[in-house]
């Protein structure tokens, strides 16, 4: 499990891999906050293409950062969600708050489901 950041086109791209639960939530939240503090980019994109699992602890981190970015006029997106992660995001109502893009089927076949 690891996470990292890239900044491009006025957007912080936050990638995280593995299982996003309470074990990683605190560290990831702190890292995201530091990144957002440092960056002048307005928008935030979560790259979930390597996320295999997420629960409410992970969703809490996403929602907290969503509130911060939106309050400053930015936009939040999630990309690369696998079908299970996508379902959890939609069930939680995140689809009403932000754009959520599913992973391409080919990418999933080559990655998570093997």
């Amino acid at each position: 499990m690891s996470f990292g950041f890239q900044v491009k086109n006025n957007t912080v791209v936050a990638a995280i891999s593995g299982e996003v639960d309470m074990n990683i939530a605190g560290l990831w939240r702190e890292a995201l906050e530091r990144q957002l503090d440092q960056s002048v980019a307005r928008n935030l994109t979560f790259d979930f293409s390597r996320v295999s699992f997420i629960d409410s602890s992970g969703l809490g981190v996403v929602l907290g950062r969503y509130k911060r970015v939106i309050s400053r006029g930015g936009r939040v997106r999630i990309i690369g969600a696998n079908p299970q992660v996508y379902r959890i995001l939609q069930m939680s109502g995140f689809g009403n708050l932000m754009d959520i893009e599913q992973a391409y089927a080919a990418g999933i076949a080559g990655g998570e489901l093997r």
Binding site: D21, M22, N23, I24, D55, G60, V61, L63, R87, I88
Partner: protein, 171 residues
């Protein structure tokens, strides 16, 4: 106690539920320190048991496995974060029974307990800004039955039940 205390043991069958759910096929219990890294251990153990159940062969889908994993993850996270207030000094106990027609998973802590269980199970109930109050909502949507037995100072026992219909295919 060592820093990360994990013990897995198979225990003797319990008779009561067995009859109602068509007979007990497998039983496992796991006792682990209330630490974040053990949440993955708990849900992976349950997923491995559900995915590998052989008798009879149920049509276990990827979605169903994921749903059970999320429900277990929420219950164990609650025990660690709320029951033990992230103190990691005590253990969480998980018990899994695989019956012919159901999986039953108990997650037990000896933490602070819940004063108003009904209120805590409401979708919007939350104890902190970063906690969404989705834990019980996920448990309720993904499992067929969620039982919570708790009182202040007496810990919490969450029972998750996933019923299995008639086998869709047999080998």
């Amino acid at each position: 106690m060592s820093d990360n205390n994990v013990a897995v043991r198979a225990v003797q069958p319990e008779e009561e539920r067995a009859a109602a759910f068509g007979g007990l096929l497998n039983e496992v219990s796991l006792d682990f320190a209330a630490r974040g890294e053990n949440v993955a251990l708990a849900r992976s153990l349950v997923a491995a048991l559900v995915a590998n159940c052989r008798e009879p062969v149920w049509d276990i889908t990827v979605s169903m496995l994921e749903e059970i994993k999320v429900a277990v993850s929420e219950a164990v996270s609650n025990a660690i974060i709320h029951g033990y207030a992230n103190a990691a000094k005590q253990n969480v106990r998980m018990h899994l029974w695989q019956y012919k027609y159901a999986f039953v998973i108990c997650i037990i802590d000896e933490g602070v307990g819940i004063a108003d269980v009904k209120c805590a199970m409401e979708p919007d109930f939350t104890t902190g800004a970063e906690h969404l109050g989705l834990g019980f909502a996920f448990m309720n949507s993904f499992m067929d039955e969620v039982l919570v037995d708790s009182a202040p100072g007496r810990g919490t026992r969450v029972t998750l039940i996933k019923r299995l219909a008639e086998p869709l295919r047999k080998v």
